[in-house]
């Protein structure tokens, strides 16, 4: 239960006080014990957040029963509030007050819809199964690869327009004059803390790093506050360390983005936050002016992974906020170049690979693939979202099956992953007569074992930072064949990079497999190139080696 680890929720005294001051909770009566508990727990979270934001004001909460499992649609009115007919609508649950610090305290009214509990199907998968857009449905039915090509062209069009539409210019930040000294940190007896801002607590590469940083921060001796910028079920919240030092703040659910800066300021002052680490968390980026102006002693780091075609993604946001950030942690050399080329910064960009040095083998095993091998296994590992282009994966399997027939090779495949494209991939495999040879496996399937048994890993992604699964594949003797996107060239040899354009991508995959299968010298050269790339990557500092010293410094109370 993600909420149970929140100390605010455990702030019993405060919650009791709140309950005692409720003026009208009659609407809760008919809903039964379980929903009542749910609502009470949500109320405790809500009160703790708004009490932090408005410590002295008189808070007037107006609650509704929500029909959204993740978002409370909060609205905050500072000053007198007048009820209108729409405020007492059919969803109206009731209202209560938290008294102010003194009788004349200013009044703040907060209206929220208590999110309902997610349905079992929603807990499993929030995204509806993917379907092609209506006008192009026939195209997808007749020629899925043509549909993919249209989508690819749309992506490239967005990429071309991106530079004009989304400028890559850092926001200006004045340093102020020594005539007016900056604010100083208040005296506090509390142990230093870190605020880690995540995009959300769902499965993903950035989130994996986010969870690692929570662990490292804890190991460094920091108290850890975690917040997510995007409302969601936060399925991984249960995987947060069960420790009194780790607090998950449900700002994603209850706090409008425009109030994050003030909340973060109050939190930092009250909890001795010395460090803020942003992992793809938009409202935290937007809180930076408040932090820099009022809390200049707080150090800010961010981590970025992938440059999106449409708008540059979070690396662009990070660069735009660069003058407010002390350290940019990046996972690939492509991003080092990106910051230099677009934002002219070098010194504060630190490359730290998403690798665990202790988990690495000393050397690489021999490749699973041998020239002329009669049984080949091809794998795909990844979330079944458009980014990974599952339709291209299915088409690649189809083309490889045809190649295998021609060359008298027994081909099998394993697709590991879940997502909105699962049904589409299943249908395509059935349609191409591959359902018996290509297995669809859940996301929790044993990936290292599958890679150890596989000869080839396919990664025809639309975009990538530096796919972790490629490291894993190489370490298991499996040869990655990837599209030439993001920083994939850092791990995948040039001859095994295929074009992004879908048809060329499928052809490139078949050609690469054919050459690896026929040409022993080529296969041997690829192994050497893979060893070289892997050795180079493992020689680079890891994210932990880059971030841990910063965390330790913050934990010891030192500042840059």
């Amino acid at each position: 239960m993600p909420f149970s680890i929140t100390p605010q929720a455990k702030g019993k005294a405060q919650a009791d006080e709140t309950r005692s001051s409720m003026t009208s909770m009659t609407a809760l009566a008919p809903v039964g014990e379980d929903p009542a508990e749910h609502i009470q727990r949500e109320i405790a979270e809500i009160v703790s957040i708004y009490s932090r934001l408005y410590p002295t004001q008189r808070l007037h909460f107006i609650l509704y029963e929500g029909n959204d499992p993740v978002w409370s649609a909060p609205s905050v009115i500072e000053g007198p509030f007048t009820f209108q007919p729409q405020h007492v609508n059919a969803q109206f649950l009731g209202q209560f007050e938290r008294p102010g610090a003194h009788p004349g305290a200013a009044s703040v009214t907060i209206t929220l819809s208590i999110p309902r509990k997610p349905l079992p199907g929603e807990v499993k998968q929030m995204d509806a199964p993917w379907a092609p857009i209506r006008r192009l449905r026939a195209v997808h039915r007749l020629a899925p690869l043509v549909y993919e090509k249209i989508r690819y062209q749309a992506e490239m069009l967005r990429k071309r327009r991106s530079v004009k539409r989304h400028p890559r210019v850092s926001l200006l930040r004045g340093d102020g004059s020594s005539l007016l000294p900056p604010p100083r940190p208040p005296e506090t007896g509390k142990r230093p803390a870190i605020l880690i801002g995540m995009h959300w607590l769902e499965v993903g590469g950035a989130e994996k790093l986010g969870f690692d940083t929570i662990r490292w921060a804890q190991q460094a001796g920091l108290r850890v506050f975690v917040a997510a910028g995007v409302p969601s079920i936060q399925r991984l919240a249960g995987k947060l360390p069960d420790s009194p030092d780790v607090t998950f703040l449900r700002l994603d659910r209850y706090l409008p983005h425009h109030l994050w800066p003030r909340y973060v300021e109050q939190l930092a002052l009250a909890e001795n936050i010395r460090l803020i680490h942003i992992h793809h968390c938009r409202p935290l980026y937007e809180s930076l002016p408040q932090i820099r102006a009022n809390l200049p002693w707080v150090e800010v780091i961010d981590s970025t992974h992938i440059v999106e075609y449409a708008d540059g993604g979070f690396p662009r946001s990070s660069g735009v906020w660069s003058n407010f950030i002390d350290i940019h942690h990046v996972i690939s050399k492509e991003l080092v170049d990106y910051y230099r080329e677009h934002f002219h910064v070098i010194g504060k960009v630190r490359l730290g690979r998403m690798l665990d040095r202790s988990g690495h083998p000393k050397g690489l095993p021999e490749l699973n693939m041998q020239p002329g091998k009669k049984r080949l296994q091809v794998a795909f590992v990844g979330r079944l979202y458009y980014q990974k282009r599952p339709v291209v994966v299915a088409e690649a399997f189809r083309a490889l099956a045809a190649w295998a027939r021609r060359n008298d090779v027994e081909l099998t495949g394993k697709i590991v992953g879940e997502g909105p494209f699962l049904d589409t991939v299943r249908d395509l495999l059935r349609r191409y007569g591959l359902a018996d040879r290509v297995a669809l496996l859940p996301a929790d399937a044993p990936v290292p074992e599958i890679l150890r048994q596989s000869d080839i890993l396919l990664l025809p992604s639309n975009n990538e930072g530096l796919a972790l699964v490629c490291y894993e594949a190489v370490e298991q003797g499996c040869i990655p064949i990837s599209t030439d996107v993001g920083s994939q060239a850092e791990i995948v040899p040039q001859d095994l990079l295929v074009p992004l354009e879908p048809q060329a991508c499928v052809k490139g995959i078949v050609a690469a497999v054919d050459r690896l299968w026929r040409d022993a010298a080529f296969l041997s050269r690829q192994r050497e190139a893979l060893v070289r790339a892997w050795t180079g990557l493992t020689a680079d500092p890891t994210a932990e080696e880059i971030l841990m010293p910063v965390y330790q410094k913050a934990a010891s109370g030192q500042q840059e």
Binding site: S177, H344, I346, K348
Partner: protein, 299 residues
């Protein structure tokens, strides 16, 4: 007078990494080190990028702006000043990649411009250094142009002459001047971009020449800007200069201004006995300048 004095150095470079490193060393040794050092690389093909990156890894004040192609000094100063403005600097120290400021050069420029304001209330639109060649003599090409009342505020203890034109070699420009008058004209590519820009800035108030701030300009020779010196090797630069100045004269003084300029150029080339083929090319460039009307870009 402003209480804010964040200073950004803007250095434009092209394929002169060794000299650029000496400039960065000289900036390191300044008694008043710029808060930001912005190296604008005009797509160098030598080891400039690697050397600047190596320094910038340890020195957070260094910013590196690599332009996708060589847009000339004018384009480089345009892009550099724009980027430095975006960094929030209050003074821009603009210079070449082969000019080494003496240790107190920037401090003296900042002092001069602020002290002048404090004493006389007028705000100089720039302050420029005395630019010396490697042998200590005055660098001919970087001689500022005085205004008619240049000694108005000149005193033995503060020998600041009023000037309305100076080169982009150790010149300090305050933020307000850039805000008011925009950026150097990138389309000039090379030559006369600095003269046009400083004359534009001087519309508010002239700049000041600060002889106590010294910089060594490490050029191959010490030649002035005189059309009598046109030769095969330098013709391309003179053509840019002729086109750009003719364009500026057309803008500021109309057709008569261009004719007067062309006559002056003619006299210089005649005096230098420049071959007729080259003279024709220079006059063609002046003719092109008549219709060349690049826009002034605001920040």
């Amino acid at each position: 007078m402003s209480a804010l004095s964040k200073t950004a150095a803007v250095i434009v470079t092209f394929n002169r990494s060794a000299k650029l490193m000496k400039v960065l060393d000289a900036l390191d040794g300044q008694t008043r080190r710029p808060d930001v050092i912005l190296v604008v690389d005009n797509a160098s093909t030598d080891d400039t990028q690697a050397l600047v990156e190596a320094r910038a890894r340890d020195d957070l004040s260094i910013r590196y702006l690599r332009l996708p192609k060589n847009v000339g000094g004018a384009g480089g100063f345009h892009a550099g000043l724009k980027a430095a403005y975006g960094l929030g600097a209050h003074y821009f120290w603009v210079s070449d990649d082969d000019a080494y400021p003496q240790p107190d050069a920037i401090e003296r420029l900042v002092h001069a411009i602020t002290a002048f304001e404090a004493r006389h209330e007028w705000r100089p639109s720039f302050a420029c250094s005395r630019v010396e060649w490697i042998d200590g003599t005055l660098c001919e090409m970087n001689t500022p142009r005085p205004v008619w009342d240049w000694p108005r505020f000149l005193h033995p203890e503060a020998a600041w002459a009023l000037v309305d034109s100076a080169s982009f070699v150790s010149i300090l420009i305050p933020r307000w001047a850039v805000e008011k008058h925009g950026l150097p004209i990138a389309d000039y590519f090379i030559w006369f971009d600095d003269a046009e820009y400083t004359r534009r800035l001087s519309r508010s108030y002239p700049g000041i020449f600060c002889p106590e701030s010294r910089v060594i300009h490490d050029t191959p020779d010490n030649r002035g800007v005189n059309f009598g010196l046109v030769d095969e090797k330098s013709l391309w630069k003179f053509k840019y200069g002729a086109r750009n100045e003719a364009s500026w004269r057309r803008r500021e003084a109309g057709l008569m201004g261009v004719l007067a300029y062309a006559y002056g150029v003619h006299l210089q080339m005649k005096g230098g006995n420049v071959p007729w083929r080259m003279r024709r090319e220079i006059f063609r460039a002046i003719a092109r300048g008549m219709t060349f009307r690049p826009k002034v870009v605001p920040v």
